[in-house]
């Protein structure tokens, strides 16, 4: 690529220069090669703020071509304002098509959810990560954190789970449940709900985690062992809706969110919900 090519690229409205994309692809490959390991990368500033999906956006821009089809959701909703904003940035910058249907998407960027269905071997799921370090709750010093990961020394995580169970009778970790990937690294599963955790295990799709502010990329390659940290005799629990049903589609098989009155429930995955209604 010549200098003038690079300048032409810039003038065509790209959000990242080509060198940056190459760098991000290299970091992504390293992440895939070492499942769960947080690969540092030279995270660039994006037209969206740090904490607003700048890491996910950089990965999506680096892996998306004009023949791709992208889906962008926030909280499971294609219509969330942040999802809409990111989607138009991705499509205008890459020339990719857009969709709300996960099975049609080659790249799905998401904040806080995995689509209920539709992801397969041809899919890449890009999750926006606010806090990539799963051990920060038990250790603040980054030098010590690096050591703990290097030695797979996770006993303090186990102690925190033990203490939680002793104090509260249940494990109270809510979203972003810590998981052991490929029997080696503990990762923060963004804040996706526990509901989505079992679907990371042995998943057919590639999941890429982008933390722009903390400048880390990590990955769960397809068909990787993903185990939520829990004791052998304390079953991992997903969110319990106590038999509630979505007031739009009437289904209870998806992750439901409630209105403040606690009696009206809705599917968090709006596209899945719409398809249920269509097929009814």
């Amino acid at each position: 690529m010549t200098l003038s090519d690079l300048i032409d690229r810039h003038e065509s409205g790209e959000l990242l220069d080509e060198f940056a994309k190459r760098e991000i692809r290299r970091a992504t490959l390293a992440a895939v090669a070492i499942p769960g390991y947080q690969v540092p990368f030279g995270s660039r500033e994006m037209p969206v703020a740090r904490g607003w999906g700048s890491g996910g956006l950089q990965i999506t821009l680096a892996v998306t071509h004009d023949d791709d089809t992208v889906k962008v959701i926030d909280q499971g909703d294609d219509d969330g304002v942040n999802a809409v904003n990111l989607r138009r940035l991705v499509t205008s910058s890459t020339g990719a098509d857009e969709t709300t249907t996960a099975s049609e998407a080659t790249v799905t960027q998401s904040r806080h959810r995995i689509p209920e269905d539709g992801l397969d071997e041809s899919s890449i799921l890009v999750l926006q990560v606010p806090v990539p370090e799963p051990l920060r709750g038990v250790e603040r010093d980054m030098r010590e954190l690096a050591r703990m990961h290097a030695e797979a020394d996770y006993s303090r995580m186990w102690v925190s789970l033990y203490e939680d169970k002793v104090r509260n009778g249940v494990i109270t970790q809510t979203t972003g449940y810590p998981c052991l990937v490929n029997e080696r690294y503990v990762v923060a599963t963004t804040p996706i709900p526990r509901w989505d955790i079992p679907r990371l295990h042995d998943a057919p799709f590639l999941t890429l985690f982008g933390a722009g502010r903390e400048k880390r990329i990590y990955a769960i390659p397809p068909y990787t062992i993903v185990e939520p940290l829990t004791f052998e005799d304390v079953p991992f629990e997903v969110e319990d809706s106590d038999g509630a049903r979505c007031s739009l589609c009437g289904k209870s098989e998806s992750f439901l969110v409630s209105l403040p009155n606690s009696t009206t429930w809705l599917c968090s995955d709006t596209d899945w919900c719409a398809r249920q209604r269509g097929s009814r």
Binding site: F19, M46, E98, T101, R111, M142, I192, E214
Partner: protein, 365 residues
């Protein structure tokens, strides 16, 4: 395709965008010229360039205008723009002694070679709010302009004044400084390409602070003076400078070093009185601060924190604080992300509250 369902969100953000743009462009007052921002709000321009890590006064002025004076937002615009540009070259190392000094003070001595040069500074002007009307101000400006032309403006300052010898040189000659020059000459750490994490080389720390939010750096300094957990020595300032520095690159064809521009910087050398048990009590050490533009507050904080971090030597997490918590965009962006929808996480939290209650009931039953 379910695209139609996405319309509501798109309409909402388009409306917000339009409101911002219309209110900014359509108003009773005149269009704000770039020259006016450069000239009348020069310190804001300097600060924005310093925190963006990008020297381009015109772009910075545009960013300040677009952000309606929000410095952090302006920094964001500049950095995001910078992300779209390929990097063609790295500048050569600058010898700070090639700089031309516009202001220079040395608090450590009464008289120094090259003299104290107060220059343009409000340090000793009384902070009275001027309530002059616009017409009076214009009239005064005319008078000042006339007086200025009568004065001889063309006297060249003496060379020892614009390039004075550093106090550090003199202290070194007096054998007053510990020598901690490195054996090797490592390439400076590029914080825009590799995230700096402790333990990091000093160049990473200095680059991070040079680009840090001014307020964050001042706070880090003051927090270590008066805060609950830090302890930081007050330094004696050996050198406070506002100067023009030449920026050199190697010509891609001839290989010659060419000066492509001048950047204005604030530069500070801070003298530290060593009193630790393993330190050389008979000598001083020096902290260094340098940032784009005229921003002495930032450069002083940086110099003092540089030496504090060196002396801390990893005993506390000062280095982590400086490397990771002082960037304007990191902190502001993450703070503001709290405005994003969080109803999935919140739902999960409520579910666990109920689970805890059920567990308690089971235990008590």
């Amino acid at each position: 395709m379910g695209y139609v369902s996405a319309r509501g969100g798109l309409d909402a953000i388009r409306a917000a965008e339009s409101l911002v743009r219309t209110k900014r462009l359509v108003s009773e007052s005149n269009w704000l010229e770039e020259d006016q921002i450069l000239d009348k709000l020069r310190l804001l321009v300097d600060r924005v360039m310093s925190e963006a890590g990008l020297w381009d006064p015109r772009l910075a002025s545009k960013a300040i205008r677009q952000s309606e004076g929000d410095a952090t937002e302006a920094v964001h615009l500049l950095r995001a723009y910078r992300s779209t540009l390929p990097r063609f070259a790295y500048s050569e190392a600058i010898d700070a002694d090639d700089a031309t000094v516009m202001r220079r003070i040395v608090p450590a001595f009464q008289r120094v070679p090259g003299n104290q040069l107060l220059g343009r500074s409000v340090d000793y002007t009384a902070r009275f709010l001027e309530r002059t009307g616009d017409d009076d101000a214009r009239e005064e400006a005319e008078k000042l302009r006339a007086a200025q032309t009568e004065e001889s403006r063309d006297i060249e300052p003496a060379s020892e004044e614009i390039a004075p010898r550093r106090l550090m040189e003199l202290l070194r000659e007096m054998d007053m400084l510990v020598d901690r020059r490195l054996e090797d000459d490592p390439e400076p750490f590029d914080i825009t390409r590799t995230p700096a994490r402790p333990p990091a080389p000093r160049s990473a720390l200095l680059s991070s602070m040079a680009r840090a939010d001014t307020g964050a750096l001042v706070n880090q300094w003051y927090r270590n003076i008066l805060g609950p957990d830090g302890y930081l020595h007050e330094v004696t300032l050996g050198e406070v400078r506002h100067a023009n520095m030449p920026l050199n690159v190697r010509h891609p064809v001839t290989g010659e070093t060419v000066t492509i521009m001048q950047v204005r910087v604030s530069e500070v050398e801070a003298i530290e009185d060593l009193e630790g048990v393993e330190e050389d009590r008979s000598r001083f050490d020096v902290g260094y601060g340098l940032c784009f533009g005229h921003n002495e507050r930032k450069a002083i904080a940086m110099a003092n924190l540089d030496i504090a971090c060196h002396r801390d030597a990893g005993r506390t997490q000062l280095e982590q604080s400086l490397l990771l918590t002082t960037d304007a965009l990191d902190s502001a962006g993450f703070l503001e992300h709290l405005k994003l929808p969080h109803y999935v996480t919140f739902r999960s939290m409520i579910e666990r509250k109920i689970a805890v209650r059920k567990a308690r009931q089971r235990r008590d039953a």
